[in-house]
Structures are given as structure tokens and as C-alpha cells.
């Protein structure tokens, strides 16, 4: 029996974990300010964070919030934890920045530190590095949050080596910024957690 054991959201510039508010930046400030303030509010100390693009920052903030209230990282071998994420805009937010850096021939300064973020799965890589998770990876791109697709793929992974998973939706496109991360564990312990199914994923996403 697989369960969803923890989850976190960033929606309307509010960061919440398992339904509790962690940081509220909804009434003031820009998106970059929110991303910095929410990082500080969580007491994170990870200087690399500031080098990341919006997509990765959203993923890191949500992951930190979700994993803080979970024992997943110590209860499962890190090579048996999968990371499966999805969004609609891929890396479009950073694609535009890179495109702008090459559109003026007189000021042609493509930056490697920008270009590397023009792949959506870099957020998986950043999470993997920070939490030393080395299991299965997949990044899907779909028009809107697709609980069925994620559930299908998680079920397939749990048939193999995977024993736990970081899963969710991380979207950055201009001012639109949203993230939802949930942790799934395959364990035989009796549990008060929600069993993994499409209704549960959808319900949590819509919270």
C-alpha cells in the first residue's frame, strides 16, 4: 500500500506544508522578493539557491517544506527514491531570458548560467543534488496538472526498484508561479496518511 505522506504548495505567493501556512507573501512584493523571503522564512542555508531560475527556486522551496515534515530521506535508500515532476510551460520563463540575450547582435552575451536552466528537468537535478537523491527521474510537460499521468507513472515505478517518490507540478511562466510537491512512500506500516490514488492527488492539488 502506497501513501502520500507529506505535501507542500506555493500558490498565490503563499507557501504551505500539509495545510499549514509557512510563509505568506501574498500582500506585498514581487515574485523575486517572495522567492527570497520564503527561502529565509524556512531558515534555508544553501547559497546555490540564489543562482537558480524561478522554476528551480519554486521546486526547492516546496521540496524543503514537504520533506521537513517527513522521514522519507532517512527511512529509504536515496537510490530508491524517484523524482517525477511536470508542468505546462517547460522552461519557457528562462527560454525567454536566453533568447533575449542573443536577439541583439550588438549586445550578444549568451550566459551559460542562464542557458543551463533552459531545460525543465534541471529542477529535478537541483533537488537531487541538495537532498542526494539518485533514483529514477522523469519530467513531463502537459497542458494542465494531470493527476492520472503522474499516478500511472508512479505505479509503474513502484513495480520496479522505486520505494519512495518526490512528485508534483512546478510551473513558472512570467508572473504565473505555482508549485505542488507531494511525497509518496511504499511501506507496510499502518498509517494515517492518504492512500495514493487519483482522487487523493487531485484533492491535495486543489487545496
Amino acid at each position: 500500500m502506497k501513501h502520500i505522506t507529506s505535501y507542500a504548495h506555493i500558490k498565490h505567493r503563499r507557501l504551505t506544508a500539509n495545510g499549514s501556512l509557512i510563509f505568506d507573501g501574498s500582500s506585498s512584493g514581487s515574485l523575486p522578493e517572495f522567492l527570497t523571503d520564503a527561502y529565509r522564512a524556512q531558515g534555508m542555508s544553501y547559497p546555490k539557491y540564489h543562482k537558480m531560475d524561478t522554476l528551480c527556486k519554486l521546486g526547492m522551496l516546496c521540496m524543503e517544506a514537504a520533506v521537513k515534515e517527513s522521514g522519507m530521506l532517512t527511512e529509504y535508500p536515496l537510490d530508491k527514491i524517484a523524482i517525477v515532476l511536470a508542468n505546462a510551460a517547460s522552461s519557457m520563463d528562462t527560454d525567454r531570458v536566453h533568447q533575449a540575450s542573443i536577439s541583439d547582435k550588438a549586445a550578444y552575451f549568451p550566459s551559460p548560467a542562464v542557458f543551463v536552466y533552459t531545460l525543465p528537468n534541471i529542477v529535478i537535478g537541483e533537488i537531487a543534488i541538495k537532498y542526494k537523491i539518485t533514483g529514477e527521474n522523469a519530467f513531463f510537460v502537459s497542458e494542465c496538472f494531470d493527476a492520472g499521468l503522474l499516478l500511472n507513472y508512479l505505479e509503474a515505478l513502484f513495480h520496479g526498484e522505486t520505494q519512495a517518490a518526490v512528485c508534483g507540478w512546478v510551473e513558472a511562466d512570467g508572473d504565473a508561479a505555482e508549485a505542488f510537491i507531494f511525497l509518496v512512500e511504499k511501506s507496510n506500516k499502518s498509517s494515517n496518511f492518504k492512500p495514493l490514488n487519483q482522487e487523493a492527488i487531485t484533492e491535495l492539488y486543489n487545496q
Partner: protein, 383 residues
């Protein structure tokens, strides 16, 4: 069992898998020095020639309504549908599209009459769905340079789970100023045809290609290659977003999970990722040695096609299936002298060989790695 079925490769070397294989057998390469529309300086790339492109897309319905990648994808998917007789409207059939950048050239303002929304991957995929009338919304996989191989593995997993009977896996990426300028800023581009695993390798060539492979549980559709997708896995280095692990951790883990409980005695070759950057090839050689695969001959196809990004895993799998069907090993183009520390055996000439399995691997930005094992289901040789 999950089988590989019909395939197609569209590249500078041809518009079918067979054409591509024959071109490689004849010693051709798609990589050349050329001046691209957006730059005065020449780049060493593998580009599909304009004349051939125009000729081929005249076969596509409403050609001007599609971007370059859409038109090439329609040709490639269309070829596999025609060969296999699969009905895209069948509810048991899915399209998985693998790409890193999709219609990225829309951002360059190349298509005034095409809605800019199609720069978004879901809209791109929807365009292909509408063209062929696929029953399901295509699944898009965008996982850097392992996208193609990962898409093949995902196809197998979905079929085993019972969700679908047939999955059409299409991988594609075009040459664009976007990717060329980016890789150049990384100082990763070679000014000459790339030399995977060679002592004098200096970096990658970028290439464009679209490749399609039908993955199915229907034995009667396995006739083209009589080959099963035995196993596959992905893993992350958890080391650096652009630099591979120095010790090949992630690739080793992907190989170990793929080869768990599997004999490698009948494995004829490894189709490696082999981008020809100093660090990548070094990392791969270490991972192969650590996985105990030093004795198995190995090639990289990047010397023929350049790095085709989201297409690479599908293209290189299809080409390797052709090689196994012909019971041949394909030379690793660009290789002359070993330039990696891991113990590997690079294939230096085309040659006949009896074997019934091969391993395909891929590695990419974000620390991702993937591996898969393909094995023949019959023993007769159809050379």
C-alpha cells in the same frame, strides 16, 4: 513482453531508418561545416539540407501550417503509422513525444503566420495529435539529453502496466540559434567533426533529427526487428547540473538496475551516449568499467549525426536495432586513439558479428542518466 516494432529516422543521412543505416554502412556522415541562416561564422553541425527538406515536406498536408519540427515529426510519425497499420484513433494507442526545445525557433520569430502559443510543448503536441487524430493527448517527455531513451523506457512501463498496447515514441529537436549559442557559451562546441572517446576530442557537434519507434505488446508487430525491450532504468548523479559525476555514479546505477538478473554474454555492443566532450566521455568510460562491461565493444553515433538532443535516444536505438538486424557492428565515427581512462573497447570499423542483444545508454544535463537492454526474440540471422 514489450517489443520494438517499426521505426523511422529523419536526418541529414536519409528519411527512413533503412536509408540511414545504408548511408552509415557506406561511410557517410551527416556532420559538416556550414554557415547557418542566423550567423556569418560557420559551425560544424549535422543539418537536414533545405532542398531535401522542401522535397519531403511537400508530402505533408498543409505544409505551411507547420513549423520545421512539426513537419519533420509528421513525416516521421506518418511513416511509422503507414508501415505498421496502427490506427492513431485507437484508445489503446499513445503518442509519447521526446524533445528538449520543441518549437524553440518560434521565439526567434521565424513563423509570422503560426500562433506563438505553439512554442509551448503541450500546444506543439496537440498540433501533432490533431493532425493524426490520436485518441489521447500525447505525453511529452522533456528530460534533457536522456529524453529519447527515457521515452522508450516509459513506453515499455506504460504497456506493461496495461494502460496501452501500442506506444509511438517520437523524438525530435531542430538546429536553432538558441541551442547553438547556448552550447557555445558553455564552450562545449567542437569546430571540427566530433570525435567521441578519442584522445583529441574537443566537444560536441549539434545535429537535427526526428526519429520514431513503435513500442508494442503485439508479437505480430515485432517483425521488423524481432526484439524485446528487456529492461531499462534512469538514475541521477546528484552531483552537478551541467557537469557529469567524475566517477560515473548515475550511469553506473542506471546500468546496474538495467542489467540486474540479466546475462550480458550475448550483448554484442553498447550504443553509448558519447558526446565527445572531455568530461562526458571520461565519465562514461569509468561507469562502463565499473559496471563490468569493459569487454563489450562500444560505439557512439554522434560522429554521424552530431548531438540530436531529444531525438538522440530514439534515433540511436533505431539505428542500433538496424545494426543488430544486420548482425553487424557500426564503427564509432571520429575515433582514432583512446582518450579516456576507463577500460573500454571502441569499435573502429564496420564488421559482421553474431549477437542477440545490445545496451543503449544516455546521460544529460541535470545529472540524469538512462540505460536499456534490447534482446532478439528469435535466433535466425537475416543479414
Amino acid at each position: 513482453m514489450v517489443f520494438t516494432s517499426y521505426s523511422n529516422i529523419i536526418s541529414p543521412l536519409g528519411f527512413t531508418s533503412q536509408e540511414n543505416y545504408q548511408a552509415i554502412r557506406a561511410g557517410k556522415t551527416g556532420v559538416q561545416n556550414m554557415v547557418l541562416p542566423f550567423s556569418k561564422e560557420p559551425f560544424c553541425v549535422a543539418s537536414i539540407g533545405e532542398a531535401e527538406f522542401e522535397k519531403q515536406i511537400s508530402k505533408v498536408r498543409g505544409a505551411s501550417a507547420h513549423t520545421r519540427l512539426e513537419a519533420l515529426s509528421i513525416l516521421s510519425i506518418g511513416d511509422v503509422l503507414a508501415q505498421s497499420g496502427i490506427d492513431p484513433a485507437d484508445r489503446r494507442t499513445l503518442l509519447i513525444y521526446s524533445t528538449t526545445k520543441g518549437n524553440i525557433d518560434i521565439l526567434e520569430g521565424r513563423y509570422p503566420s503560426i500562433p506563438s502559443e505553439r512554442a509551448y510543448l503541450p500546444a506543439f503536441a496537440k498540433h501533432l495529435q490533431d493532425y493524426f487524430k490520436f485518441a489521447h493527448t500525447p505525453v511529452v517527455v522533456s528530460n534533457a539529453c536522456i529524453s529519447g531513451l527515457l521515452a522508450v523506457i516509459i513506453a515499455k512501463r506504460f504497456i506493461e502496466q496495461g494502460t496501452y498496447d501500442n506506444v509511438i515514441v517520437c523524438g525530435g529537436d531542430i538546429l536553432s540559434e538558441f541551442t547553438i549559442s547556448g552550447f557555445k557559451s558553455f564552450n562545449a562546441m567542437s569546430a571540427e567533426p566530433s570525435r567521441p572517446f578519442d584522445a583529441n576530442r574537443t566537444g560536441i557537434n549539434l545535429g537535427e533529427a526526428v526519429a520514431t519507434l513503435l513500442v508494442t505488446n503485439k508479437k505480430e508487430l515485432s517483425a521488423p526487428y524481432h526484439t524485446e525491450i528487456v529492461s531499462g532504468a534512469s538514475a541521477n548523479d546528484a552531483n552537478h547540473i551541467s557537469g557529469p559525476s567524475r566517477t560515473g555514479e548515475g550511469l553506473l546505477q542506471a546500468l546496474q538496475n538495467t542489467l540486474k538478473d540479466q546475462s550480458t554474454e550475448d550483448v554484442g555492443f553498447i550504443s553509448a551516449h558519447g558526446t565527445a566532450t572531455p568530461f562526458n566521455d571520461e565519465m562514461e568510460s569509468i561507469a562502463f568499467e565499473r559496471a563490468g562491461l569493459s569487454g563489450i565493444p562500444l560505439n557512439s553515433l554522434k560522429g554521424y549525426y552530431g548531438h540530436t538532443l531529444g531525438a538522440a535516444g530514439v534515433l540511436e536505438t533505431a539505428l542500433s536495432l538496424e545494426a543488430m538486424k544486420h548482425q553487424e557492428l557500426v564503427r564509432s565515427e571520429g575515433y582514432a586513439a583512446k582518450g579516456v581512462s576507463g577500460n573500454i573497447r571502441v569499435i573502429e570499423s564496420h564488421q559482421p558479428k553474431s549477437y542477440s542483444a545490445f545496451i543503449k545508454t544516455a546521460s544529460g544535463f541535470g545529472g540524469c542518466n538512462a540505460a536499456a537492454l534490447f534482446r532478439r526474440t528469435i535466433n535466425h540471422i537475416d543479414r
